[in-house]
């Protein structure tokens, strides 16, 4: 179980350019954080930093779980559910193959059909992914996120390419994730329908 995620005075630089510095926040279980900012302000970099792909230039991130406290990037990566701005799907694989692969990769078992139902892709189950629209691909990436059952969701533009039904679905899943005691951080231009904290980069 995740208890809290704390950022202390984070600074991030790409090359010589400082994207942001002095960033602090604390999120308890069940809370969401919207990250806003102009294009190029460092929203994606912040998410990659939290996921452990990037190292902060200074400051630290502390993840507190029921098994203790840690600022190790690799350990943090093990609880991250990642929805990047790319969907991470293979055009040659069918929808269900794709999802079963990720289920095995993350949890060693599969309940892919239920996840497909949830995001409204049950009918497209055997379609190769190259036939899916951008919104349907997003839904499939969302099914993967649900299936991974991770506690710290990092979402990059989660509403991009989704129709109004899809956006409602996304908002519902985000609310459920928080209700179940998860934490989520979303880089977005749309205000989060969670009534949660927001920071501007």
């Amino acid at each position: 179980m995740i208890l809290s995620l704390t950022a202390e005075n984070l600074a991030c630089a790409r090359g010589d350019r400082t994207l942001f510095e002095g960033l602090s926040f604390q999120l308890a279980a069940g809370q969401g954080l919207a990250v806003e900012g102009a294009n190029g302000a460092g929203k994606t970099s912040l998410l990659r930093l939290i996921a452990g792909f990037l190292a902060p230039r200074s400051g630290r991130l502390v993840l507190k779980t029921t098994s203790g406290e840690s600022d190790d990037a690799e350990e943090r990566g093990r609880v991250v559910g990642w929805l990047g701005h790319q969907d991470g799907l293979k055009p040659q694989l069918t929808v269900i193959e794709q999802l079963i692969f990720f289920a095995h990769l993350y949890r060693g078992k599969t309940d892919a059909d239920a996840a497909l139902d949830e995001v409204g892709l049950a009918r497209q189950k055997d379609f190769p992914c190259r036939f899916l629209s951008a919104g349907q691909k997003r839904r499939l990436a969302l099914a993967r996120l649900v299936l991974a059952k991770r506690t710290l969701w990092l979402l990059d533009e989660p509403f991009a390419a989704l129709d109004s039904d899809g956006q409602a679905l996304m908002a519902r899943l985000m609310a459920r994730h928080c209700a179940q005691g998860g934490i989520l951080i979303a880089a977005t231009h749309d205000p989060l329908s969670l009534g949660n904290a927001a920071i501007r980069l």
Binding site: L54, D87, F101, F102, H104, L105
Partner: protein
Amino acid sequence: MSAFNALLMRDLRLAARSGGGAALALGFFALVATLVPLGIGADLKLLARVAGGVLWVGAVLAALLSLDRLFQGDFEDGSLDVIALSPLSLESVSLAKILAHWLSTGLPLTLISPLLALLFNLPAAATLVLFVSLLIGTPAVSAVGAIGASLTLSLKRGGLILPLIILPLLTPAVVFGAGAVAAMLDGRPPSEGLTLLAAFAIAACLLSPFAAAASVRLNLSS
């Protein structure tokens, strides 16, 4: 299914469906092996003499064709981020990818080599040595290749630089492999070359997953 097997099966499936895997490498290998005898002419003795070297170089070049996509495809479409956050370590990810590449190119190339050796009038005993040397050596080609593929994964035309990085590293494999075939032709025991080749292959397969994983990590942080 374990996470390792899931990744292995997915990569094999992708190789089979994208057409850039076994079929392309086999076609390339077969064409090179057909063209060389045509170019050299009907000097049977000379053909048998060069068979080991030509087929080894041909197999290495054929295996190179699909190597540049080893990590690049997953990097470009964002899959690599998702895979990197899974419980599977990047070292295991690299090993699964090396194994998938060998099963989809190195192994088929090895299996077809006795047939191509016929074009060079290679005696049966030497053909067997060629077969065994490729069986031992092609995993090293995939393993060393994975290091190059991980270094160039974010480069748009990385496939052009890849051979420059890994072909020098593969010199020992070609020397020992072709050397074993030549030794057999000269009536010397081929075991010396095969043993050295096996040592090279074992070292490559043990070390390269770590090197590739380190390089993937570096690329994900940029």
